[in-house]
Amino acid sequence: MAFSITNACIGCNACKLVCPQKAIVSGANGYAIASHRCNECVGHHADPQCASICPIETAIVNAEHRALNPPGSLTGLPTERNVIAISLLEQRLSNHTNHPPSHGEGHAR
């Protein structure tokens, strides 16, 4: 029974500061959870602390590799791919309304 940190982690160090088990280790290879220390905060707090402060969706997963903060749960943004690109493109198109896209941007999602 232990969580782990995925490579979505941005290394903000917040989890390390709040972990009651001091289970979070960091180094040149980023952040990781020492599985023998992690008890998923059972007996400490109602909610696992790392996952309660982590700002990045999918950065912390349980033993079944399920994200404790799934996509969209923290930012409220649909983290469908392309969200950045669609937004940028829309902005550009609204700036250049006389310049409609004629090329097959056929993969909108």
Partner: protein, 460 residues
């Protein structure tokens, strides 16, 4: 100042007794009154020797030490993948420092710029979500240079319990970012806060933050700190609320109010940026400052510094110029272009089977080769996404910039992690046009060397 009939607020009554002009340039008249005897000599001295508290402080320089990466709240104008986009402009991720490295950087900068009399901690997260690192840094700096002004800039959530520690560390100037005092507004700005071992959301999160901010403000004022309040002006969200907010700030004893325009460039990947929340116009900022100016002295010369800014306000010193070791400036860079037509930037990153590689230098743009890659997306099945991403990264080896029409969030992040900057800014531009624009942008940012390398860097 002349009273005009121009409405200074979207609606409601005109403020009385205060000049109300539509001219943005008159904002400076709303600043602190230093000569009317209402402030003690000590406060006047602390204000006029700080570049952020008074335009008179411009001859002094400041340094922000990036020692505080963790944050305890999420703001919709911030993307934690970058630095906070309002307190510290994003685009380049700060190199974090340990408290000891922070104190060392301060000493080096002080040698180079002796007018550096202000040391602030502003992030890149929230300083008080990293109390140990923040306090250790402040103490180390004060030990090296007792006369320096110590500042902290916080969201206020953890302020109440840290006020006495900050006071004893010698913090004289405190900035709290308070965007509203109404939780109905706050829930549109803060999706969550981490408080008392729980992630709170919605109205409860906003109310908790506001309560803690005001309690912290009161305690900091009582402890004798000069408190400046920053407010990010968000059109349609808190712009109608500025006067009520400033009234409350006055009641709580804040010294100075700094209303800053929202930065919502979609390229920063913030919630506001990606959902089309617009930035305020200059007039709207001016109007808000006039409205708040009836209650609070206004700061209107804010430069919205990064959490690792160094030097005089508005004339940041590039720390790379101070480092002798590695230069960040290239004489040329490789740029990969995703194009279906071969003329326009019209290919989705995930569907690109090959990239045209260009070498861009200060004086030339030349096509070097076409590199083939495995596709990252095939239909909707992205199970093998990781291995395809690896193939793309391999093909892009040595490349600094990728220009494409679209790209997903995941590959965007993967590229960034490998030091490749993806861009959809030039979607549907002609390739030649785009490369010329990129070239001038790189030259402007100093990422591309305009002159031979031997003349560029001076060792520290």
């Amino acid at each position: 100042m002349e009273q005009t009939q121009t409405s200074c607020k979207p609606s409601g009554t005109m403020p009385t007794g205060t000049g109300c002009s539509s001219q943005a340039s008159d904002d400076s008249a709303l600043g602190l009154k230093l000569d009317d005897g209402s402030l003690s000599a000590e406060v006047v001295n602390k204000v006029t020797t700080h570049p952020c508290y008074s335009p008179e402080g411009h001859k002094y320089a400041r340094i922000h030490l990036p020692v505080a990466p963790a944050c305890n709240i999420q703001c919709n104008y911030c993307n934690r993948k970058f630095d906070c986009s309002n307190e510290s402009r994003p685009g380049v991720v700060s190199k974090l420092l340990s408290p000891a490295q922070g104190a060392k950087r301060f000493s080096k900068v002080k040698e180079r710029i002796p007018q550096t009399n202000v040391v602030g901690i502003a992030g890149p997260g929230d300083p008080l979500a990293n109390p140990a690192a923040t306090l250790a840094t402040l103490k180390a700096v004060a030990l090296a240079e007792p006369d320096v002004h110590l500042c902290v800039s916080t969201n206020g959530l953890a302020l109440l319990e840290q006020v006495s520690a900050l006071k004893s560390a010698g913090v004289s100037h405190l900035t709290i970012t308070i965007n509203c005092i109404d939780a109905a507004i706050g829930e549109k700005i803060y999706p969550w806060v981490y408080f008392n071992h729980k992630r709170l959301r919605g109205r409860q999160a906003a109310q908790t933050l506001i309560d803690r901010q005001l309690a912290g403000l009161k305690a900091a004022v009582a402890a004798g700190m000069l408190v400046k309040v920053n407010t990010v002006l968000i059109p349609g969200i808190n712009d109608h609320h500025i006067e009520a907010l400033s009234q409350e700030l006055k009641n709580y004893g804040a010294l100075l109010h700094n209303i800053m325009p929202l930065i919502s460039d979609p390229a920063h990947g913030t919630y506001f940026g990606l959902t089309g929340q617009r930035q305020p116009t200059e007039d709207e900022v001016s109007t808000a400052r006039q409205a708040a100016g009836t209650n609070m002295a206004q700061m209107s010369h804010c430069q919205q510094c990064r959490a690792d800014a160094v030097g005089h306000l508005g004339q940041d010193v590039d720390l790379n110029d101070m480092a002798s070791s590695e230069s960040e400036v290239d004489s040329s860079v490789l740029v990969a272009v995703a194009s279906k037509s071969g003329v326009l930037i019209d290919q989705h990153f995930g569907y690109a089977q090959s990239f045209a590689i260009y070498r861009v230098s200060a004086t030339a743009i030349e096509r070097t080769e076409q590199r083939t890659v495995g596709q990252y997306c095939v239909g909707d099945d992205c199970d093998a996404a990781d291995s395809r991403m690896d193939a793309s990264l391999q093909a892009l080896s040595g490349v600094k910039h990728v220009l494409c029409s679209r790209i997903g969030m995941t590959p965007w992040q993967a590229l960034e992690q490998h030091g490749v900057m993806p861009s959809t800014e030039y979607a549907l531009f002609g390739i030649d046009d785009a490369l010329e624009q990129l070239q001038s942008q790189l030259l402007e940012n100093g990422q591309l060397q305009a002159v031979p390398s031997t003349t560029i860097k001076e060792a520290m």
